[in-house]
Every structure is written in structure tokens, then in C-alpha cells.
Amino acid sequence: MGSSITQQIFQQIVNGLSLGSIYALIALGYTMVYGIVKLINFAHGDIMMVGAYSGWFAITVLHLPFLPALIFAMVSCALLGVIIERIAYKPLRNATRIAALITAIGVSLFLEYGGMLLVTPQVRTYPPVFPETMYSIYGVIFKYGDIVMLVTSVVLMVLLHITVQYTKMGKAMRAVSFDKDAALLMGINTNNIISFTFAIGSALAAAAGVLMGVYFNTIDPLMGIIPGLKAFVAAVLGGIGIIPGAMVGGLMLGLIESIVSGFGASTWRDAVAFLILILVLIVKPSGLFGKNVREKV
């Protein structure tokens, strides 16, 4: 009996980590965009939805295997992200925060309902891309899909880390995020850097979308709303604007959710996520990894 409870707990941890890695991928996009232009990109969850659909298109219509389909989705969403940024957000670079936020919500609605018009609101099933192989270690079941998901997300996060920390582009990104005007004066083309950030964030969201389609088997045009909000919770939990924070926040949120579901309270799962959000905001608004910034008058 005791061992089966331990098994249960470990099983939930495995499930939580796979779900959490998806949240972390979405949260990274949120956090990067927020870090660089101080905008909550509400459309981010919907870009994930577009990614899921383009992955679905690549697999079922173009008959691509998993990895090329993933890359196809990431590239198409990176383009979409840049287009959205250029059309909707760029004219508002110097507008008030509320105007930018409302535009983001407008873009989000446009993607949701435009998507509904384009692909019909009907739910689509993702084709099985992975064998149904399961590995059992001390009674804890690892599905083949779970492992691929974890590996994919970890690889993407490592790539992101290398890009941000060790490339010239990443250095420029960090500079723009630190002080946009100073970066501009140092000869950095801030507009290109911002577009680049949107491209990377959207590509990560697309990867998350494909993984989500594989994980839950079904996709629909409104699938991005709740994961998008939760990924935002994850980003705030880790400290918005901080890249490792988003990873840790995403994994923590996934773990918390699957533990709550494990206790048989799966209908309360979303409420717990938002409750955590509010508690974090009240206790430490800058997040787990955040530093307190004093406001100068």
C-alpha cells in the first residue's frame, strides 16, 4: 500500500514534468517579450494554437515525420510572430501600456475567431506520431511521448540559453531589455532585435503547441486561451522578464497541477493555478527569481 502511494506520487511528478515543460516553453515567449518591450502578449497562447494547427497540417496533409513537422510549425509561427509585431505592436511602441495590452487582446481575439473561420470550430484529432511504448521503472510509467516531450523542451531551452547568453544577437537582446535607448545609441538596431525576440518566442510557442497536440490528442481554435493564461502565471511565478524563472515557473506549475489532479480535485486545477498567481503577486510581485526594484521619484 505504502509503495503504491509513493508510485502514485512519482507518477504525478512525471506527468507534471511533461505538462510543465509545455507551460515552460510558452512562458519563455511571454517572459522574453515582456522583458524586451514590457508588453503582456495576450496573443501568445493563440500563437501556440496556430503552431498546433500548422504541426497538424504538416503531419496529416504533408505527411512529414515529427521532427520536420515541429520545425515547420516553428518557422511558420516565427513568421507570424514577426508579422503581428510589425503590424499591431510596432505602431504602439510609445503608447500607453493599456493601449498595448488592449491591442494584444485584440490580436488574440483575431487569431481565435479568424482561426475558427478558417479551420472551423470543430475539434480535430492529432495523429499518433509516437509508438505507444511505455517503460515502467519501479511501477512508474514513462510513456514514449512523455520522454520525447521532455527531451524536446530541454533541448529547446538549452538552445535558447546558448542563443541568449553566447551569441551576438543574444547580447543585443539583453542590452535592449536592459535599456532600450542606450542600446539604440550603441548602434543596436532595436527594431530588428524586438522582431527577433518575437520570432524566437513564437517559435517556442509553436513547439509547445505541437507538443500539446501530441499530449492531449485534440486541438481546437480556442485551445490557446487557458494554457496561455497559465503560462503567464508560470512566467509571473518565476519572475517575469527572467528566462530561467519562466522555465522553473512552468515546471512548478505543471507539478502543482498534476498533484492537485492526483488528489482527485481536477476541476479545481485551474482555480489553484490562479490562486497561486494572486498569492505570488501579493507576497512577492517580482516572482521567485526577481529582484525588487525601487521606484525613484
Binding site: 514590457k38 504602439l92 500607453t96 495590452l101 475567431y113 479545481w268 490562479f274 494572486i278
Partner: protein
């Protein structure tokens, strides 16, 4: 003593009564098709919602996007009072509004320390939590929702709307309203001038929640059925769009936005798949080309009528 009966107020009062009487006449003599009546009552509900959100977002400058949560509290509490406990309608409506105000107070006290985006996201979280709580409460029907008799008439909806708007408008014009505006303009400066910013932020938030709850009660007691899905994030967002469209910080602008959006939504009812897309595109275009909304922070007023009345008031002071 202030002269309440200046020309401006009398004209406004006459206008309100006339508007009410014309519509009531059309309803009594059965000239008005039911769809028009439904739209008019919806407009009343949305005017209350938009004005109350404007009090928080536009006047006090605290960015809240959880208004649907307060509306849900008001709707469910009033539905419980009128349909399960068989209480009178007015008690139900006021009960719902008071509980919503209490929720607003309890949520506002801790969260209003947050600023800008963080406050927005905290209120969004609150709205979702409220929805999930009702979704999981079998007493009020869970996900399937809750049916109740429709008791709200045009008279109720219009009277409650008019009273709410007058109350909120007077609040904005009062000392407290001025304090709230000073918080919007510059919180640090307001605080150093001796404005108790926490008190006024919580006051505006509670008051906004009260009227959102009232609107929720009207909604519940008019539409026969309330479901947790109705009070989702999209509804909060719709209300936000109304006040931004009309002009954030302008009470009359919020009313205008509520009317325009509800009418547009009614006109586009035939093409539901396009409705949200058109709204979204309009919104983005407006943010790019006229981010201040139709009226900006200006108010539409009848002051051009009131010069004589104002002089009277001034001479008596």
C-alpha cells in the same frame, strides 16, 4: 445650500423621463419587437457595467480586467435570493450587489498594492477563480447553469441604470472622485499631497464591484438562465472594450461605448462568426489610430444649457 433644480439638471431629468416614457409606451402598445426590447435591456446592463468599470480603470487609473467576476457574484447571489429563497426582486438585486461589493473590498485590499500589468493579471485571476467556484458548486447548478424566472422589466432595468449612473457621476464630481482622479494622474504626487491612496483605490474598487454586482443581478433576473461560462474572461474584455472605445476616464464616453458596442453586436447577430473578428480588428485599428477613444477624457454635458442655473447656484453660495 446647492441649487439642485438648475436648468441643466431639469433638462437632464426631463430627457431621462422622456426616453423612458417613449420606450415604455412602445412596449405597452406592443409596437416594439421583442428583439429590440432585449437589446435595450442589454444596453442598460452594459451601461452599468461600463460605467462601473470606468470608475476603477478610467477614473482611478487602476487597471482591472476581472469585472465579469464581480458580475458573476452579483448574478448568482441575487439568483439564489430570488429563485431559491423566493425573496423579493429588489432584495435580491441589492443583496447580490452588496456581496459583490464585499468581494471587491476583500480582493481590492491586498491586490491594489500592485500596479499596472500585475494588477490586471491579479484581477483576471480573481475573475477566473470566481467562475471556477460557481462551476464546481452543485447548489447553483454547476456547469449546466441555473434557471430562474424572468422578473426584470424595462422599467426596472432603466430605473436602476439611471440611478446607478447618477450616483457614479456624482461620486466622480465629489471630493472623493477628485481624489481618485489625482491617483490616476500621479499616485506619488497624490500621496504626498495627503490623499490616502489606498483608501480611495479600495473605495473605487468596492463601488465598481457593487454596481457590477447590480448589473449581474439584473442580467440573472432577466435572461432566465445563468451559466458560469457566461462570466468568462471574454465578458470582462468586452466591458473593457466599451470604455476604451468611448474614452477611458469619461463617464459619458463609457455610456456611449456601451451603446455602440451592444448595438453593433445586435446588428452583427446574423453573422456570429464574423462578429468577434470585426470587433478585434476595429479594436486594434483604434488603438493604433485613436488610442484615446471617441471622447477621450472629455465629458458630454448639458452645461451649455446651464449658464443661468450655474449663476444662480454661485450667487447662493
Amino acid at each position: 445650500m446647492r441649487n439642485w433644480f438648475n436648468r441643466q439638471n431639469i433638462v437632464a431629468l426631463l430627457g431621462i423621463v422622456l426616453l423612458y416614457a417613449v420606450v415604455q409606451g412602445l412596449i405597452v402598445f406592443d409596437i416594439m419587437p421583442p428583439f429590440y426590447k432585449l437589446t435595450l435591456i442589454q444596453i442598460c446592463i452594459y451601461i452599468i457595467l461600463a460605467t462601473s468599470l470606468n470608475l476603477i480603470n478610467g477614473i482611478t487609473g487602476q487597471f482591472s480586467i476581472g469585472h465579469a467576476g464581480f458580475m458573476a457574484v452579483g448574478a448568482y447571489i441575487s439568483a439564489i435570493i430570488t429563485a431559491i429563497q423566493h425573496g423579493p426582486l429588489l432584495v435580491g438585486l441589492l443583496g447580490g450587489a452588496i456581496v459583490a461589493a464585499l468581494a471587491g473590498f476583500l480582493v481590492g485590499l491586498p491586490t491594489l498594492r500592485l500596479k499596472g500589468d500585475y494588477l490586471a493579471i491579479a484581477t483576471l485571476g480573481f475573475g477566473e477563480i470566481v467562475r471556477i467556484i460557481f462551476l464546481n458548486t452543485e447548489y447553483v447548478g454547476g456547469a449546466a447553469g441555473f434557471t430562474l424566472p424572468s422578473k426584470i422589466t424595462w422599467t426596472w432595468a432603466f430605473a436602476l441604470m439611471a440611478i446607478s449612473v447618477v450616483l457614479m457621476k456624482n461620486f466622480v464630481g465629489s471630493t472623493h472622485g477628485r481624489a481618485c482622479i489625482s491617483i490616476r494622474e500621479n499616485e506619488i504626487a497624490a500621496e504626498s499631497m495627503g490623499v490616502n491612496t489606498t483608501k480611495y483605490k479600495v473605495m473605487a474598487f468596492t463601488m465598481g464591484a457593487f454596481f457590477a454586482g447590480l448589473a449581474g443581478g439584473i442580467y440573472a433576473n432577466y435572461f432566465y438562465i445563468i451559466q458560469p461560462m457566461t462570466f468568462n474572461f471574454l465578458l470582462s474584455f468586452n466591458i473593457l472594450v466599451m470604455i476604451v472605445l468611448g474614452g477611458l476616464g469619461s463617464m459619458t464616453g463609457g455610456i456611449l461605448g456601451a451603446i455602440v458596442m451592444t448595438l453593433a453586436s445586435a446588428l452583427l447577430a446574423g453573422v456570429p462568426e464574423w462578429r468577434n473578428i470585426i470587433t478585434a480588428v476595429l479594436l486594434v485599428l483604434m488603438m493604433i489610430f485613436r488610442p484615446t477613444g471617441i471622447l477621450g477624457t472629455k465629458e458630454f454635458s448639458l452645461s451649455f444649457l446651464g449658464k443661468k442655473g450655474d449663476k444662480n447656484a454661485a450667487s447662493k453660495n
